[in-house]
Amino acid sequence: MFSRMMILAALGLILASAKPAFSASLEQGKPAIKSIDVIAFQPGGFLLIGDGAAGQVVLVKTPESTGKKWTASIDNLKEKIADRLGVAVKDAEILHFTVDSSAATAYLAVRRLDTKSQHILTIDGQGKISEFSLDNVAYKTIPLPKGSKGAISKITDLAWTGDRLLVSGLANEEFGCKLFCIYQPLEKSSEVILTSAETYHVAHGKWETKAPMTVLMPYEENGKKYLVGAFSCTPLVKYPLESFQKDAKVKGQSVVELGSGNKPLHMFTYSRGDKSYVLINTFRFHHARKPFGPSPYWTARIDTSAIAEKDNINEKALRRLDAKGEPAGDQIKIITEFHGVQHMEKLDAANALVIQEDGKGVLTLKTLALP
């Protein structure tokens, strides 16, 4: 047991679980939110809402955990959501997804296209769909600085690392990578580092600062904390959190290349026995031309030994496919059971909660065993 814990700790599976620390009480009421781009669930029962249009992150306290086991499978999910909103199916879209694993509850950010309104819904383990009203909640607003290059317009992902909040964003007018690192206690006076990280893009062999990070996750390796980010076309890059300092250049190590034509959507780590993995799902731009499965949404499992790689990085980063277009090894594997997964989060040690499409646009919310 001890050795397993040591291995998992070394590979980053024991991530910081510290609750977000607040030196002041939360506000009570209705937070002013302009757009819900992304949502993430954090320890302590906090829902993080990334609001790029207002240039802010909003933390919302959620109800206490019910702790029930997830047993539901909800087919025709979009129809059911549209029904509850009272709109036609074509007028509802699922924007983003996260899971409160301690309460076995899914949180969905959805929008009504006819009124441009956005809503948070919850689905519990028995399949009950409810609205998580933001009209009267305990919340905190964390503004993101504009910096000298203009404000962001969209937040692509965010995560709490145990002592700081990481946020990635992009702007309408320039192609750029904007990363924010906000230190606890997450007050308006908290120090915020705004930077654009240098990343080696394996696909075309160049260092860049401009590509926006589409998903990110905290990662720990041998006691050292990192941010692992994924970009379109599709490198995974590891940045030491200690390098996020004011006016410092943040330089990452590209460790995995999944191939061109894909946009990462969600990723998380999990363990299986003494092994540990990153699971990442992506949208394939040119699915019709070169499909990886029955759906443009496909998922890969990456052995974290690839993330921990010290020597084979950047130019030598592990590629999913070799020069002949064949799988380059067993460290990266496409998971066919996850074909069609548009959204996913880890539910428990053995399962992911996913929204999966059947290739004809029908969505099902269900559990899939972690591969």
Partner: protein
């Protein structure tokens, strides 16, 4: 519950009452006996109340009522009142019904949106009819607010000279202005950058010296759900790719005379990105402060002029040019769009322009 259902058999159907503020309507049901088990006046648990009656979207064609809408229930003096969380969808019909009780429902059709002038495309940047083949983005302006939706990336087409759609050219990230009248539509950068596999496999979206059409079809919906007034087609020709830094030393200034309100004119050898230019460039006067005035662009964004609020004083001026000032291919005054950071850096580029307005 059986007693309750029996009582409801003889009850009047639910009724709809207008509200002055959102959601604009509430639904009331007078309870026979005026009570709900275990509930006095005030909030009624949603799950309990929906067993008495609920409001659902009604599909007349299929005769089907949707699941209960989100909202809250209150018991007020023997009347169970449902208030939806959100406004009903314009033009849609909703049915208030009592589960297990037939023919005691009530329907309500939300008012359709008033007729509005059809929204049209009013401007597209770049306005030129020839653009570099490594153009990064279009900026589309509409006469009214549009509907946000991911479908726009399948609706807006780029067609080649034979009218054949260019496959999947767009970066599928919705970037609307706050009032939804401006859409920034990016080409997928992976197809613009040299050496990226996506470009190697699919080819660049634009090939130099070929003709293209950007087609914004009628089926794009405005905020009210109506199609555009008409299809809009922008025809243009791709020219050679531009992969060099924007050099302000090549800008030509036409200076105004002191004491007049003549515009300062700056012409560029190649078109600039007007939105970034407006954000990044500022004119400082002899006192070091921003010169108050109005900015406008000339034909095909190849020139810019600044008309001051007051007359120009004699003295030294500076056109301060921000790092992100860019051309149509994303080449900024600081560096080209595509640069290998491991290569030696360019010389410190000249950016700002100083000039003197003589007496």
């Amino acid at each position: 519950m059986i007693t309750l259902l029996a009582a409801l058999l003889f009850a009047a159907p639910p009724s709809f009452e207008p509200l002055p503020a959102p959601p604009g309507i509430q639904v009331c049901l007078k309870l026979q006996g005026g009570e709900l088990p275990g509930v006095k006046n005030g909030r009624v648990p949603y799950d309990q109340a929906t067993q008495v009656f609920y409001l659902g979207l009604y599909d007349r064609e299929k005769g089907k009522v949707g699941a209960p809408l989100f909202g809250s229930y209150e018991l007020r003096q023997g009347i169970l009142v449902f208030k939806p969380s959100h406004p009903l969808a314009a033009g849609k019909t909703y049915r208030a019904l009592q589960p297990g009780i037939k023919n005691n429902h009530a329907d309500f059709t939300a008012a359709p949106l008033p007729p509005q002038p059809a929204v049209q495309v009013v401007r597209i940047y770049p306005s030129a009819d020839s653009v570099p083949a490594n153009l990064l983005k279009f900026t589309l302006y509409f006469s009214g607010p549009m509907r946000q939706s991911r479908e726009i990336f399948d609706q807006i087409e780029l067609r080649d000279s034979q009218g054949k759609p260019v496959e999947d050219p767009w970066r599928r990230t919705e970037l609307w202005s706050e009032n939804d009248t401006r859409l920034t539509l990016w080409f997928h950068p992976g197809r613009v950058k040299v050496g990226v596999n996506l470009r190697e496999q699919l080819g660049p979206p634009l090939t130099p010296f070929k003709e293209y059409s950007l087609v914004i079809p009628r089926e794009m919906l405005d905020a009210s759900g109506n199609p555009l007034g008409k299809e809009h087609i922008k025809r243009f020709r791709a020219t050679a790719e531009v992969r060099e830094r924007l050099d302000t030393r090549q800008w030509k200034l036409q200076l105004p005379r002191a004491g007049t309100r003549e515009p300062l004119r700056v012409s560029f050898p190649r078109a600039v990105d007007p939105l970034l230019f407006n954000r990044e460039v500022e004119l400082l006067g002899p006192d070091g402060k921003k010169v108050a005035g109005a900015s406008s662009f000339g034909l095909q964004e190849q020139s810019w002029q600044w008309t001051p609020v007051g007359a120009w004083p004699v003295g030294k001026y500076q056109l301060r040019v921000g790092d992100d000032t860019a051309d149509l291919a994303g080449n900024t005054v600081e560096r080209p769009f595509e640069v290998d950071l491991s290569s030696p850096a360019d010389d410190s580029p000249a950016k700002n322009i100083s000039f003197q307005i003589p007496p």
